[in-house]
Symmetry: C2
Subunit: 349 residues, 2 copies
Amino acid sequence: MWRGIIEEYREFMPVSDKTPIVTLFEGNTPLYQAPKISAAVGAEVWLKFEGLNPTGSFKDRGMTMAVSKAKEDGAEVVICASTGNTSAAAAAYAARAGMKAVVVIPHGKVALGKLAQTIMYGAEIIEIHGNFDRGLEIVREISDTHPITLVNSVNPFRIDGQKTAAFEVCDTLGEAPNYLAIPVGNAGNITAYWKGFNEYRQARHSGKLPKMIGFEAAGSAAIVKGQPIPEPETIATAIRIGNPASWQQAVAAANDSKGKIDMVEDQEILEAYRLIASEGVFCEPASAASVAGVLKLSKQGTFSETDKIVCVLTGNGLKDPDNAIKHGVSIEPKVVDAKAEAVVKAIFG
Amino acid sequence: MWRGIIEEYREFMPVSDKTPIVTLFEGNTPLYQAPKISAAVGAEVWLKFEGLNPTGSFKDRGMTMAVSKAKEDGAEVVICASTGNTSAAAAAYAARAGMKAVVVIPHGKVALGKLAQTIMYGAEIIEIHGNFDRGLEIVREISDTHPITLVNSVNPFRIDGQKTAAFEVCDTLGEAPNYLAIPVGNAGNITAYWKGFNEYRQARHSGKLPKMIGFEAAGSAAIVKGQPIPEPETIATAIRIGNPASWQQAVAAANDSKGKIDMVEDQEILEAYRLIASEGVFCEPASAASVAGVLKLSKQGTFSETDKIVCVLTGNGLKDPDNAIKHGVSIEPKVVDAKAEAVVKAIFG
């Protein structure tokens, strides 16, 4: 059985024999061929489905590292200011480690239903009379002065965990693809993949490097627009970030790989979201930014028929089922008599 | 990369070179050690987390078989009368196969939000002026007379798919555990595991057989009570079934293995649900029936310290986040001033 990313890729990870490995066997996620998307794009498109990680997102890769190192350092508590996938991953890995997880959020601003998963894992929620930025300041200050480890994206070990997804892509395909397409929010994940592809090439596990193409949502496209967005807005909540923490690294990954950072409209994201589901894969709306971006670039003639393009799908659609109803598809069931012929007629028209 | 259960266990599967394999790389799910539950039970307890299958439940194992065989037979449509995990799996695998999936439900009785995942995958929902039993009659009739394959639990290939989870348990542990604990609803899954353990032992991949211990919810405990339950009621919706399709096979599995079918109260299920989450694993309430049952039997002195017990967790908690809020845990965040010392005080008390 797969032993989790640290054990499987130990030679590439900043751990020693003394590091207690806290794992939920994250990683080893499927890489799907996508015939419908390939036909639409005119190239060979694959989907790396990170939604099948233990807590339902790619954050688990970073969190196994962050929490293992926190435990090694003797921390008793991990803390973050997040309402999304980060807090769920932090809570699960803290539970696994026998540590406490604390999530700091603004009072009265967050529907606690969004934190259901996080709360189930036993995290403690603390609401402050202040906004998210103030929350982040506070958790930084606390982690400097107490046996508490900050596991927000500023935690440096998370990148090392997340880079393993690039290893897996190379292992499955035999080498790196021509393009790696990825949603860009805080921009940590594009940074991590680029690090992973480079390390794997240096270790001669892949003969080439992909072009990194990252996609922000148009309503929060700080990097594309060249300035922070004070009030970012997009349906793709997991990448609704106006001032990416890894801004410079993301730009470097795009430039060094001869790729680019581009943006996609919410409407394009939703179309891609539905198209991905038609391949049998249910992802978060934010995840669909990668496929939406590839569809956009394909119309500009970016790809050739023989290109292999891997699109990263960062999270599980079950994280956000309301969007499926609200924006994904119309629900208008046919209503018929309780007779076989009526049902058959409804099926075949 | 893992190729899905049919390819990985082909010698045990009723497929030929002519069978088109429709897969989302289901199976290969984690088997977690559970230190907290082990301490509570006084034996070595493991969790087989089926919630990390592609659509979030064990149904994917059966559905890869059912849809592959349907495609082999030339069917154009798969059909089921289900609102839960079966319909989601049917829709996803049909999408993968380029087939249509149809879900028949009673008109006006089902909150369509429950079908969000199924609808996203592109399934067609048909509501009839009739109840679930009538729906099942109709889909049976249609599948006898049209190029439409019924993928409800009466489909015989599903058991062959689901039995592979037993293979994986043996592969990970090196042999079968002493006990296999499992939720019982329609009773197909306990039947499948028992078949799997027997086939693997015959093939000499395991030296022994486990005792099969299955747990119904007390409010729908037809097998335990020895008669169908006309109006089954339990919080564990995925096993809320009053007249199990595989009743006789489940009883045979329990008897032949010297195990038993028992039942657990909703309150016990919810306690187990929370305990499982404290191990870092978020499952459906119904899944927790296996752990609840093991906790119950442990109080009766059933297990010895050296016993290995594998508890099957059938589905992902993300399928039913409302229950986490309603029944899982209380959400009462601490509210404090936006100051580091106030947050620290809230953390350490």
